[in-house]
């Protein structure tokens, strides 16, 4: 399976042991990274908010996450009376396992030799590679959804419905930006993606996918992934002002810790995936000594940068409103990524085809924008006419008479007009002339 030299020959006991060791080491490393990531996030946010942050447990508060973990472990474990106890206990694992499985396809470095076996520095290199990311991100919906439902309480349910709707919506944009990477690589394997990004343009600029694809797929992917992870500014799942604590309100003790762990594990994993897809993975300058170390070092540094960007986003941006979130996903990201995919496909054939696709994209974007504007206006008109029990044209006229040209939604206009005691008006006027 895959191109890993370890698995090409006969599967002996030594190979089996080595695979298990790889999995265990990767899991341990990821857990330690998550611990550090939690500390890092708290420290950086504290700095940005002019606070000190955790500084008691260990040097610089490094052991704070460990202390929190131990505390949570010994807390009382509550299972609500009205919950569905089996699903309630299952959900945290469904949230955590996909995060780890996704990490297994990330190439961390080149090849190493252990006890005579040569192997890739990555847990698994299946030919379907990046599809595993899509599969796991669709599985991670279950964790959130079932957690909210099985709690048997309304706020968690609301939170989980929001979350799953959001995750499903952004999955499409995410998938389309991944397709762009697959298109230039010609393979689904993550290792092939990293290999195809080696080298440079003109000897100086790195041959990374972010430049090869134009920056747009990367931006779409970053936004979609942030929404997929329910990280701020897309963390409507746990909007504490509206939903108490979101889908994990009823969770306590180690199960709550698992959700927390899953969130940060996902953050680290997705930083690594971004690096793999768009920033060349372990690619970087490779001075002569310590040949095996440099790729790993570059990979860790790049991943760290994206981990920092996630924290930065959290500290800097306010949460989006739910309808804006859905608008961004469906009306901007998906059409844009589809159009850009056409451009990239055109560029694969020839420059002429690529630029004509670009022109088509611009024209299409203009048309779509116009269609949405018209649709929104007719929606507002229809809603208003329905409430006034008159024809759409008359409703527009009445609105024109009272000078309310600021259409946000039908309801707002309705409130105003009824407050003025007017039900309908049949005065003439050009309905299209004033918006």
């Amino acid at each position: 399976m895959g191109a890993d030299p370890l698995l090409l020959g006969k599967i002996s006991l030594g190979v089996l042991v080595l695979v298990v060791v790889k999995v265990v080491v990767a899991f341990a490393v990821l857990l330690v990274t998550v611990m550090l990531m939690i500390w890092f996030e708290r420290k950086v946010i504290s700095d940005m908010q002019n606070r000190i942050g955790p500084n008691r447990a260990g040097p610089f508060g490094l052991l704070q996450s460990l202390a929190d973990g131990i505390k949570l472990f010994f807390k009382e474990d509550l299972v609500p009376d009205r919950s569905d106890s089996f699903v309630f206990k299952l959900a945290p694992y469904l949230a955590m396992v996909p995060a780890f499985v996704t990490f297994t396809i990330v190439p961390i470095g080149g090849y190493i030799k252990v006890f005579g076996y040569s192997t890739e520095l990555q847990v698994a290199d299946p030919p379907m590679g990046i599809l595993l990311l899509l599969a796991m991100s669709s599985i991670s919906v279950y964790g959130v959804m079932l957690a909210g439902w099985s709690s048997g309480s309304k706020y968690p349910l609301l939170g989980s419905v929001r979350a799953s709707a959001q995750m499903i919506s952004y999955e499409a944009a995410m998938g389309l930006s991944i397709v762009a990477v697959v298109l230039v690589t010609g393979s689904l394997s993550t290792r092939d993606m990293v290999l195809s990004q080696q080298g440079s343009f003109f000897g100086v600029i790195p041959h990374w996918n972010i430049l090869r694809l134009g920056v747009i797929p990367f931006v779409i992917f970053l936004i979609a992934i942030t929404a997929e992870l329910n990280r701020p500014p897309f963390d409507l799942v746990e909007a504490e002002q509206e939903l108490v604590g979101g889908f994990n309100t009823e969770y306590s003790s180690i199960r709550f810790a698992l959700f927390y762990l899953a969130e940060f594990m996902n953050t680290v994993t997705m930083s690594a995936i971004i690096v793999t897809l768009f920033f060349g993975g372990p690619d970087g300058p490779d001075p002569a000594p310590l040949h095996w170390l440099w790729p790993i070092l570059w990979f860790v540094i790049k991943t760290g940068v994206f981990a920092f960007i996630y924290v930065w986003l959290r500290a800097a941006l306010p949460r989006l409103r739910y309808d804006r979130l859905m608008d961004l996903g469906w009306k901007v990201l998906i059409p844009l990524s589809l159009g850009w995919l056409l451009v990239i496909a055109g560029m694969q054939i020839s420059k002429v085809a690529g630029f004509s696709m670009l022109a088509a994209l611009i024209v299409g974007a203009g048309l779509l924008y116009r269609a949405m504007a018209v649709g929104q206006r007719s929606n507002a008109t229809n809603a208003m006419s329905a409430s006034l029990k008159v024809a759409p044209k008359d409703a527009l006229d009445s609105r024109a008479k009272f000078g309310d040209t600021h259409v946000v939604s039908g309801k707002r206009v309705v409130t105003r007009i009824s407050a003025e005691g007017v039900v309908s008006s049949k005065s003439g006027g050009d309905p299209d002339g004033r918006t």
Partner: protein, 197 residues
């Protein structure tokens, strides 16, 4: 006729097959709809593992993405949002005696059919190969088939899907315009109130 199967292959097959069958039994026996849906996910996963074992990696990924990731999520949405009862409340009263024997006869017939299909090649043609043909990748072979030999059915299917989506949108929109504003979804009402403030 049967090639010798290696030990790792056998264990993978046994584990996946047991999981698939257990999941399938769970789907029909569990009373709670959500539990049944989760069992369905387990079956899909086990089948995906069987696909991987056969070298059909792409099919395995699609199996998980489409069936486990999209369709069952949709099932769960419907179950949760429509508030299906925790337990099945409707039991058929006429549990007549012929159902059990009929089911048994049917299952034996299917078993016989399956074993005939497995033993012989007259119905299915030659046995499938366990590796990707001619050293091409899964995706490459699939794409070549879909975009050359089966181009017309493929495009027709995509048109059909687009029509289905458009139809759903049209059906959902028409009723909304005709109805009173009061019957609009609670979310829009709420948003309107926020705007009015």
């Amino acid at each position: 006729m049967f090639a010798a199967i290696s030990a790792p292959d056998f264990f993978t097959f046994a584990a996946a097959a047991i999981a698939a069958v257990a999941g399938a039994i769970g789907v029909v026996t569990l009373r709670h709809p959500v539990h049944a849906a989760l069992m369905l996910v387990m079956t899909f996963f086990a089948i995906a593992v069987l696909f991987v074992e056969q070298g059909a990696q792409f099919l395995a990924a699609v199996q998980v993405i489409v069936y486990a990731g999209a369709i069952v999520v949709l099932f769960l949405f419907v179950i949760m949002l429509l508030g299906v009862d925790k337990k099945e409340t409707v039991f058929p009263k006429d549990s007549v005696s012929w159902k059990l024997p009929a089911g048994l006869v049917l299952s034996i017939a299917i078993l016989v059919e399956l074993s005939i299909l497995a033993k012989g090649v007259w119905a299915t043609g030659a046995h499938s190969v366990t590796a990707a043909p001619n050293g091409h990748s899964n995706v490459g072979v699939l794409a070549r088939a879909v975009f050359t030999t089966y181009l017309l059915p493929f495009e027709a299917t995509s048109v059909l899907l687009v029509i289905a989506v458009l139809g759903a949108v049209v059906l959902a929109r028409v009723s909304k315009i005709q109805e009173d504003i009061s019957s609009e979804s609670a979310l829009e009402d709420e948003m309107g109130e926020v705007n009015a403030r």
